[in-house]
């Protein structure tokens, strides 16, 4: 034993090794750089400062610092010199305006405080497009983006507007008589004034060509509509009126054809008098729409085309030869039968980028006389013309273009053939880009015209025919910027302001006798012909003509037959890639918005990334994996995507339940590099694969080396048969059985008797019948999972952004999250049955292990979860400093300045809704999002505390809003009526899924919902008695 020798490395075994010897002799193997930090000897000895002096200085400065700390800071109050009449410090003003950034179009209200826009609200007066989504909610933060351009640039150097105006005007004048065109390449405006302005610009300069360009093109749908109705527009749909909705790859709850369809859809989804709409979705990616469908058929796009053709044939009683697999053709048969039964209450939509498919769906809807389909009131919010854009690139390269003026577009990022485009731009004499930020396109153009944010601009829009909206600035330009239209006026030699121009256009053309001021106040204006039931008139027309049309069906569809046959013969070789926009990022216009980057995708729950979604079967055959590492974070393989020789390297892979086998999905909007903060440079650019403006591409997928680290918020995807978290039932059971069967209250044992959990109480209850008692109802049927509420909550409550690394560590700060669950069997109901039937430990173990895996085509459920404001809150009893306490109004209070950060409350919360501030997230260089710069801080809501490090924070049921409502009523000496009490999320939810109110008010909607048979509380068995309750999800799955 004694001879045993321990050795640290092999070298030590060799006694003659010199290195071992030196290491043994020297304590420090490397020279300690003493000289470096003591400076050179001469200086040191010459210095009069000795060690004692040093200590004196330290002592003095410590004492001075602590003495200085005794003094409070002097705060200044600077009032206005001349106060604008409308502004009262402390009171919010609201302005009606419209977002029309080329991708999002909606009528909104902007809340301003002391002149700063701080929040986006829905414009409830708007008859159409009055609902905002997550991106629109977040757009207010883009106004305060610290990377915005602060003035115009010439060749990348700061310049004066006057200098730019002169050189642009000179060049335009020079081009006036020449052969070369002047091209305006712009976003879709849908603006009557801009159209008029551009036509006047054409008159001045002659050879002007205006090309509208949508980054994500709806060209196929536009072309199909134009061929049929002679106008380049899109039909409008009202899904509320439909009894059966059949969609072929149309993600109409997200951004399909301009979006904004979810509120109508949700209204039809709430079971009323035993009826609700039925929704069947044929699709490849798991989309938000597919997740909400009653029946989802996951098939490849080529099969979708065939199925659509076959459906057309069945409805038309003509024979269409398609080779579809047995179960798909059976599904199509069933759908055809259901549509026939519903008659004109059915509607068919498609999102396939194929003119034939679009034309066929238009014909089907016309054939059905669908009352949910109104082509006579079309929407103008997509105008992009792919052919014209392709032609432009050709023209530029052949030297036919003299000037290129761009606004609202970033072709260098969004074009797959960006290099061709940049080569073309180099051959153009004059190139100007209007942009709010430095980006890929401003890099290659001569002049960069710093453009206004839409909240600083004037404008108008005709979103839907006859429905007009106005855009008004809610703040003066923050920087030396000028909007496109104003510049056009300038360059035309007009000295009108664009405001006057719009006013003139409206007064002379649109308004008739109506008042301009009222239109501006309301933000919307509807032509009288529309207010008198324009849409319903159309619907009646189509309803009456149904029979006629069906009789003439054969003649009407004659030109359609070729479209059908081409659909039927769609080829289906290899792997198909479906490019799609995420509801959080859209086309990538707001990629530098930290709220949107941190917004978790409703389906994958991944933030700060895009990724290629792959089905489990394909992933295992390609050797692609997803795994959770030790800290819980999700990792995924990298893959290489190749489309027609264009390759995208290192795309992270996410295995997506419900992804059709043989297909992969990739989202647009990520991978921007130029002009972005490093934190925001996330994901890969999918536009590189968007060839021919077609979102469906044939792709090859190869595994690449390395693993990608995702910031995924939800790591457990299935419910494991815990049916009391999301209670759901089918319409049939809902209609026929008593609610105790499908909305079962959990039982507990009391004195050896099984009694309902809601009747057992450990505590004495507080009498809450006096005063207000706030309750919130969340309808799982109406919630589509869109996430507008999540961003609204961020904006209202100053919720910080923590960044990808922190999200990966589960330190996300969202006060409101939308949980997404997959079923592990085909339905959630089967999950519950399977779990109940486990017997014995081993079967239970293996069974649960199986249930961790989502099904191939699972059912999906969304559940918004925020603080449940329990009347018997577990968090309150464990707080050692009483920082969290209950109010008699039902809100669970959180006094941040009292919190010492033990996090006992978070541990004791059964809903996991409490968030801990691990870091000082404002004024912190480490978190370079928006809270650490003066500009970004302008979005802060002054009525809500900005939390510091070391405290817990959580949803307050927007107590600042309820308190304001109460105070307003007190001041006016009146009773509060139902609907006045709102929270940020209930205000943002245009789907009616979140209803907030006073349950002591007998008249209120929330009282009624509380008595509803569908009402249940989350984890009722725990006995927390929450003030937030849910409505059982009902699925219309009865096949017949």
């Amino acid at each position: 034993m004694a001879s045993k020798k321990y050795w640290k490395s092999e070298a030590e075994l060799n006694p003659n090794d010199s290195i071992v010897e030196t290491l043994r002799q020297n304590e420090f193997p490397e020279e300690i750089p003493v000289d470096e930090f003591l400076g050179d000897k001469e200086n040191l000895s010459a210095s009069t400062t000795n060690r004692r002096d040093f200590l004196k200085y330290v002592g003095f400065s410590t004492a001075a610092a602590s003495l200085a700390a005794c003094e409070g800071p002097v705060r200044k109050s600077i009032p206005y010199v001349i106060k604008p009449e409308q502004i009262i410090p402390g009171i919010a003003n609201y302005y009606a305006t419209t977002i029309a950034d080329g991708y999002d179009f909606a009528s909104i209200l902007i809340k301003t405080r002391e002149g700063r826009p701080i929040k986006v609200e829905n414009n409830k007066d708007a008859k159409t497009n009055g609902n905002s989504n997550a991106r629109i909610q977040a757009s207010v933060l883009s106004l305060y983006d610290s990377t915005r351009l602060q003035g115009p640039l010439a060749n990348g150097e700061p310049a004066e507007w006057t200098a730019i105006d002169t050189s642009v005007k000179n060049k335009l004048e020079a081009l006036k008589g020449s052969e070369k065109q002047i091209v305006l390449l712009t976003q879709t405006y849908a603006s009557p004034s801009t159209s008029k302005l551009i036509s006047e610009f054409k008159e001045v300069y002659g050879n002007v060509n205006h090309i509208a360009y949508d980054a994500i093109s709806e060209d196929a749908a536009l072309t199909a509509f134009e061929a049929k109705f002679g106008e380049r527009a899109l039909p409008t749909y009202d899904f509320e009126k439909a009894d059966i909705i059949v969609s072929f790859g149309a993600d109409f709850l997200a951004d399909w054809q301009g979006g904004g369809y979810d509120s109508g859809y949700s209204k039809g989804r709430i079971p009323k008098k035993g009826k609700m709409s039925r929704h069947i979705q044929f699709e490849s990616n798991m989309s938000l729409t597919g997740a909400n469908a009653d029946k989802r058929i996951a098939i490849k796009p080529s099969e979708q085309k065939k199925a659509l053709a076959s459906l057309f044939g069945k409805l038309n009683n003509s024979s269409v030869n398609v080779d579809l697999s047995e179960n798909i053709s059976k599904a199509v048969d069933d759908v055809a039968a259901e549509i026939r039964k519903a008659g004109n209450k059915a509607v068919v939509v498609t999102g396939l980028d194929d003119v034939n498919a679009q034309a066929v769906t238009l014909s089907i809807n016309e054939m059905l006389g669908s009352i949910a389909y109104s082509p006579s009131v079309p929407r103008y919010i997509r105008q992009g013309n792919s052919q014209a854009v392709n032609k432009l690139i050709q023209d530029m390269n052949s030297g036919k273009v003299g000037a290129l003026i761009m606004d609202g577009v970033n072709p260098m990022y969004t074009l797959p053939n960006a290099t061709e485009f940049s080569e073309g731009v180099a051959k153009v004499d004059l190139s100007v880009t209007f942009s709010t930020n430095w980006n890929e396109t401003t890099e290659i153009t001569e002049f960069t015209a710093a453009a206004n944010h839409f909240l600083e601009s004037w404008g108008d829009a005709e979103l839907v025919k006859g429905y007009y909206s106005l855009i008004q600035p809610t703040i003066k330009e923050l920087f030396d910027t000028r909007q496109f239209q104003q510049s056009l006026l300038q360059w035309m030699g007009s000295d009108l302001s664009y405001y006057d121009y719009i006013k003139e256009t409206w007064n002379s053309g649109i308004l008739g006798d109506a008042s301009w001021n009222k239109a501006l106040h309301d933000g919307v204006f509807v032509l009288e012909s529309n207010t008198e039931g324009g849409t319903s008139a159309t619907n009646n027309r189509s309803g009456n003509q149904t029979m006629e049309q069906q009789s003439e069906a054969n003649t009407a569809i004659a030109p359609i037959s070729s479209a059908v046959s081409s659909l039927a013969n769609a080829s289906a070789d290899g792997m198909e890639l479906i490019l799609y926009p995420k509801i959080g990022m859209g086309d990538g216009k707001q990629a530098n918005n930290p709220w949107l980057q941190e917004f978790p995708d409703p389906i994958s729950r991944v933030s700060w990334d895009n990724y290629v979604t792959v089905s489990r079967a394909d992933a295992s055959s390609l050797g692609l994996i997803n795994e959770n590492v030790a800290n819980g974070g999700l990792n995924g393989s990298y893959a290489k995507l190749t489309v027609n020789g264009v390759a995208l390297e290192n795309v992270p892979v996410l295995i997506q339940p419900g992804q059709a086998a043989g297909t992969v999905g990739l989202s647009f909007g990520y991978g921007r590099q130029v002009g972005m903060k490093t934190e925001m440079q996330t994901g890969v650019n999918a536009y590189a694969l968007y060839q021919g403006f077609n979102s469906i591409q044939n792709v090859t997928l190869e595994k690449a080396t390395g693993m990608h680290e995702f910031a995924c918020i939800q790591l457990h995807n299935t419910l494991m048969g815990r049916g009391d978290i999301i209670k759901e039932t089918t319409l049939e059971i809902f209609n026929t059985k008593d609610h105790s069967e499908w909305n079962h209250v959990p039982q507990v044992s009391l004195n050896h008797q099984e009694v309902p959990a809601t009747t057992v109480d450990l505590w004495d209850s507080f009498d809450r019948s006096i005063g207000h008692h706030f309750n919130m109802s969340i309808d799982l049927n109406a919630c589509t999972g869109c996430g507008a509420c999540v961003i609204a909550c961020h904006a209202e409550n100053n919720v910080p952004v923590v960044g990808k690394e922190e999200v990966r560590k589960s330190r996300d700060m969202h006060w409101l999250r939308i949980d997404r669950y997959y079923s592990s069997e085909d339905t959630f109901d089967q999950d519950n049955t399977k779990k109940d039937e486990f017997s014995g430990a081993s079967q239970t173990k293996s069974g649960f292990e199986e249930m961790e895996q989502a099904a191939v085509n699972p059912q999906v459920a969304f559940q918004p979860v925020m603080c449940q404001h329990c009347n018997h809150a577990p968090c309150e009893t464990v707080c050692p400093v009483a920082a969290t306490s209950h109010s008699r109004q039902g809100q669970n209070h959180m006094a941040y300045n009292r919190c010492v950060g033990t996090r006992y409350c978070a541990n004791n919360c059964p809903y996991k809704v409490r968030r801990f501030n691990w870091f000082l997230l404002n004024n912190n260089e480490e978190f370079d999002y928006h809270f650490n710069n003066d500009l970004g801080k302008m979005v802060i809501n002054p009525d809500v505390t900005v939390r510091s490090r070391g405290v817990i924070e959580k949803c307050s049921l927007c107590i600042q809003m309820t308190q304001k409502t109460i105070l307003d009523a007190k001041r006016e000496g009146r009773v509060i009526v139902d609907g006045e009490f709102q929270t940020a999320c209930s205000n943002a939810c245009s789907n009616g899924a979140i209803v907030f109110g006073d349950s002591n008010d007998e008249e209120s909607q929330v009282t009624e919902l509380k008595k509803d048979d569908r009402m249940y509380h989350l984890l009722e068995s725990v006995g927390t008695k929450p003030n937030v309750f849910y409505q059982v999800k009902v699925r219309n799955t009865n096949e017949a």
Binding site: C70, E71, G72, P73, V74, R75, K76, S77, I78, P79, Y80, V81, I82, K83, I88, P89, G90, I91, D767, S769, I770, G771, A883, S885, S887, R888, Q889, Q891, H893, M894, A895, Y896, N897, R898, D943, V944, T945, V946, S956, I959, Q960, Q963, I966, L967, A969, K970, R971, E972, G973, R974, V975, I976
Partner: protein, 462 residues
């Protein structure tokens, strides 16, 4: 920032003594002053009498102040021309008689439209600001006004004399105070020295007389401190006492950290609440108008100041003339007038031409009441709903020459008031139901804010 000690009985005592002293000295000066005032009044009356040949200048002054003073001054251009000796001036320069003035005052617009040359000239000269017509003024009234304008204003000699006199008085009062205190200190010091010397001398005499000090005996007895040290119980009790006492004082000291009661910073413009709210009885919410509707009381924007200060361009003192304390502090009329000029500079008002230059310089007031961000306080809730007087929290503002923080603004202070104050529910439909139900529940007639839920954390902290 000025700090105020938690325990300052001594300073309070001094303050009290000072107040008592000043109280007496004040009345003395007041008596001294009265003859001068009388003299001033006498000269004024004399002047008025001298100036009036056909009207009563005293009545004219009243009428002038009621009707004309908003736009006219005697010796100074304002919205309209200066009016001193207007009649003579018009007669001499333009050849216009009193009849012209009657017509002009009663209907200036009519004269302008009728094409009267001088009427149009004046109208054009004063930025085409039409003069309000005064059809209600009789010719006799106008005579009175003209008599007043013709009277020579009294020279401000008397006032200046008073200033000088009382400044001297103010200084002397400070000196006497210091002298008395100094003398007292001297006397005490002398006493202590004498005691010491006497003791020494006595000892020396004793030694000389051979009296043996009983020091040795004393040594044999256990000294008091040793006895104390041996008694463990006593040590324990006294150390506990000492600890508790020091804890008490430490707590008291630490609780005053961050409390700025009495904080009275120097402001960029010496704005006197005493002059505005006290002497001139301007309603608080005239300037702090947002207190009615908003969480902020709002520091008035400068255009609010200009509502009055467009015509009030100099300070003339309160009717009794500046008090000796004011004068002692240097708050003379000239001083206040200088402060008004600071306002003009800030707002960009050109006094000469009665125009805004557009070159403004916002005033950086030093904020006095600094409620931390974590506490939400709403003025309108307290002012409009509860009908609480501003003075309840802000103290006697109308007496404050320099504004200071009157209340401690601590949470305990808020809570005490919420416990003691009844909610004003009368004539407020909002409270009807909740008051009925809650008062029944608690069996009380009136509900306090606390019973209404005003003590819950989340009502102020969110």
């Amino acid at each position: 920032m000025k700090k105020v000690l938690y325990r300052h009985q001594i300073s309070k005592l001094f303050a009290f003594a000072l107040v008592v002293y000043l109280l007496f000295s004040n009345s003395l000066f007041a008596q001294e002053e009265s003859p001068e005032q009388n003299a001033a009044a006498a000269t004024e009356v004399a002047a008025e009498q001298a100036g009036s040949d056909s009207g009563d200048a005293a009545k004219g002054k009243q009428l002038f102040n009621q009707n004309c003073a908003a736009c006219h001054a005697l010796n100074r251009k304002m919205t309209g021309p200066a009016l001193a000796n207007v009649e003579t001036r018009l007669a001499e320069d333009e050849g216009l008689d009193r009849e012209w003035l009657y017509t002009w005052i009663k209907n200036s617009a009519g004269m302008i439209s009728s094409g009267d040359a001088y009427a149009n000239k004046v109208y054009a000269e004063y930025n085409q600001a039409a003069m309000t017509a005064f059809p209600t003024l009789s010719n006799a009234d106008i005579d009175n006004i003209l008599a007043y304008t013709a009277a020579t204003p009294p020279a401000p000699v008397a006032a200046a004399a008073t200033t000088a006199a009382s400044e001297g008085g103010g200084d002397s009062s400070g000196i006497t105070n210091e002298i008395i205190l100094g003398a007292l200190v001297m006397v005490f010091a002398l006493l202590v020295m004498m005691l010491f010397l006497v003791n020494n001398t006595l000892q020396r005499i004793a030694e000389a007389n051979g009296v043996v000090m009983e020091k040795d005996k004393a040594v044999k007895r256990t000294p008091l401190w040793k006895a104390f040290a041996h008694n463990q119980f006593l040590v324990l009790v006294s150390s506990i006492f000492l600890l508790l006492a020091s804890a008490y004082f430490a707590y008291g000291w630490m609780m005053q950290v961050g409390i700025d009661q009495g904080y009275a910073p120097i402001q960029p413009i010496h704005y006197s609440h005493k002059v505005h709210a006290g002497d001139n009885k301007i309603e608080c919410k005239y300037c702090h108008s947002s207190a009615r509707v908003s969480k902020h009381s709002g520091i008035p924007s400068l255009n609010v100041c200009m509502n009055c200060h467009k015509s009030i361009y100099e300070y003339k003192g309160n009717p009794e003339g500046p008090s000796p304390e004011d004068l002692a502090n240097g708050y003379t009329n000239e001083f206040y007038t200088g402060e008004i000029k600071k306002l003009y500079k800030a707002v960009g008002w050109d006094e000469e031409n009665q125009k805004y230059t557009g070159e403004s310089q916002p005033v950086e007031w030093v904020r006095i009441h600094n409620l931390p961000d974590l506490a939400y306080f709403n003025h309108s809730q307290h002012v409009s709903v509860a009908g609480i007087e501003c003075q309840t929290c802000h103290g006697p503002v109308e007496e404050m020459e320099i504004m200071y923080q009157y209340s401690s603004l601590t949470m305990g202070w808020c809570i005490n008031c919420h416990r003691e104050t009844n909610v004003k529910v009368e004539d407020n439909a909002y409270y009807a139901k909740i008051h009925e139900e809650l008062s029944k529940k608690y069996g009380v007639e009136n509900l306090t804010a606390a019973q209404m839920g005003g003590l819950e954390c989340g009502k102020c902290h969110y």
